[in-house]
């Protein structure tokens, strides 16, 4: 498989010289849905920021063998501009790239349509529920047609039903667009449900403790959460996480 992101010996140190995580070696392939799972403070979010180029690693580096792909980032909070309408929020990446207004509007509208927000273009973020705000955030991410989607615990603050609905929507987008997704979560079940691959990190300093491949999530349906296969996979991820914790302790 084609390697999209190649992390080589990436380390991040605190100002006092203590290692926050790493060295981390990780190859991410085209079209994978990779979840990063680990205890809080193990550097999952930092890894995403390093990949996005928002943070420089202390040592090591990130290579993009196919050239730097178009990257989108979804944060834990919806991170919308409260003064801008939904359409303007979804259009932001296109505006910043100076895409002509008419084309940008069409693409933003299409992105909003794909996350089920048709008809809310002129609303302000404060008029939306938490789940809808997160949908706007996802629409903004896909509006610029990214190849690599980085998500930092995006659904952690949502209720269970909303979260499941967004999980399914995300899988649909991933499948339709052939995206590569790196998804940070602390939920074993969420990672198991979504991913084609789960990378378990150890507590600080975070390193790869386990690299688990699962059946491709394109086959998920409503019954999957109740299936034997899902339970086995979740058990496997859960055990790996427990091993990683004990190993460190």
């Amino acid at each position: 498989m084609t390697i999209v992101v190649d992390l080589k010996g990436v380390t991040k140190k605190f100002a006092n010289g203590l290692a926050a995580f790493g060295p981390l070696d990780l190859e991410l392939h085209d079209g994978e849905f990779v979840s990063l799972v680990g205890p809080s403070g193990c550097g999952k979010s930092t890894t995403l920021r390093v990949i996005a180029g928002l943070l420089a690693p202390s040592e090591g580096g990130v290579a993009f063998p196919q050239g730097r792909p178009e990257i989108a980032f979804v944060f834990q909070e919806p991170t919308l501009m409260p003064w801008a309408r939904v359409l303007e929020n979804a259009r932001l990446p296109l505006d910043l790239k100076r895409v002509p207004r008419a084309e940008a509007n069409a693409r933003a509208r299409r992105a909003l349509h794909r996350v089920g927000l048709e008809g809310f273009e002129r609303a302000f973020p404060r008029e939306l529920s938490g789940g809808m705000k997160m949908r706007v955030s996802i629409a903004r991410a896909i509006a610029a047609a990214p190849r690599l989607l980085l998500m930092d615990e995006p659904f952690a603050a949502l209720d269970e039903l909303t979260r499941q609905a967004l999980n399914d929507d995300l899988l649909r987008l991933w499948h339709e667009d052939g995206l590569t997704v790196i998804f940070v979560t602390h939920s074993v079940f969420e990672s198991t449900y979504l991913s084609s691959r789960v990378v378990v990190l150890t507590p600080r300093p975070g390193r790869v403790a386990a690299d688990i491949r699962l059946s491709p999530p394109a086959t998920r349906d409503a019954g999957y959460r109740l299936s034997r296969e899902f339970a086995d996979a979740a058990g496997q991820v859960s055990q790996a996480l427990r091993d990683a914790m004990e190993h460190a302790a």
């Binding site: 980032f73 501009m81 932001l92 505006d95």
Partner: protein, 261 residues
Amino acid sequence: MIRVLRYGLPLLLGTAVLAAWEFLVHHYDVPVFVLPAPSAIWTAFIENFASLMASLWTTLRITWIAFALAFVSGCAVAILFSQSRLVEMALFPYAVILQVTPVVAIAPLILIWVGFERISLALVIIAWIVAFFPILSSLTLGLRSADANLTDLFRLYGASRWQRITRLQFPGALPYLLSAMKVSGGLALIGAVVAEFAAGSGTATGLAWRIVEAGNRLEIAKMFAALGLLSALGILNFYALSALEYAFLHRWHESALQKEI
């Protein structure tokens, strides 16, 4: 109901106070040079209408020009500060000096430097000094308070510095700026009045000078009339700026949302 109370109550109270004032002045025969009755103030207002209005216009013009200058220069310097810590470190102490030095103390100096033949310019400069700082300090803070994740997003999408200012920092700083404008608008008027007092003599022709002049002649009713106009001007400024604040923020900002209830 709330709306009726909000406007009705102060109005009712004001009327009651005026009526009591009128009654007490007549009842105790208070001399007109100590405390004139509201009716006498009204008469003085009508008699001196032309000169008072001319003075009002002078003070209004100086206040508004000083405020406009404070707005433009405050915004410009704040944007400069938000872009460069070094510039801010170098200049901020001087902005503070401008702010903490009592304006009454610098006013005579400015009047001498600018010259009494250009009195309006001197008054504008003095009023500007007072009105400038709130805009500068609030907007600098506001521009720097942009959401960290949104700032990262702008970086990720390769936003230019100008895009970051106009699309992220400035809209986010609007609540700070609009609140500072209310303070600054009031200070501009105070600055204009103080400047006129400092200028003294017949060169200044604004409301403050009318007050000094009427005081010297013991025309207390006229003094009250000028004072009333000055307050009215201040109130007008404040509510105009409040309306501006509401117009810009009511659709999205928390502060304006609570007002709707």
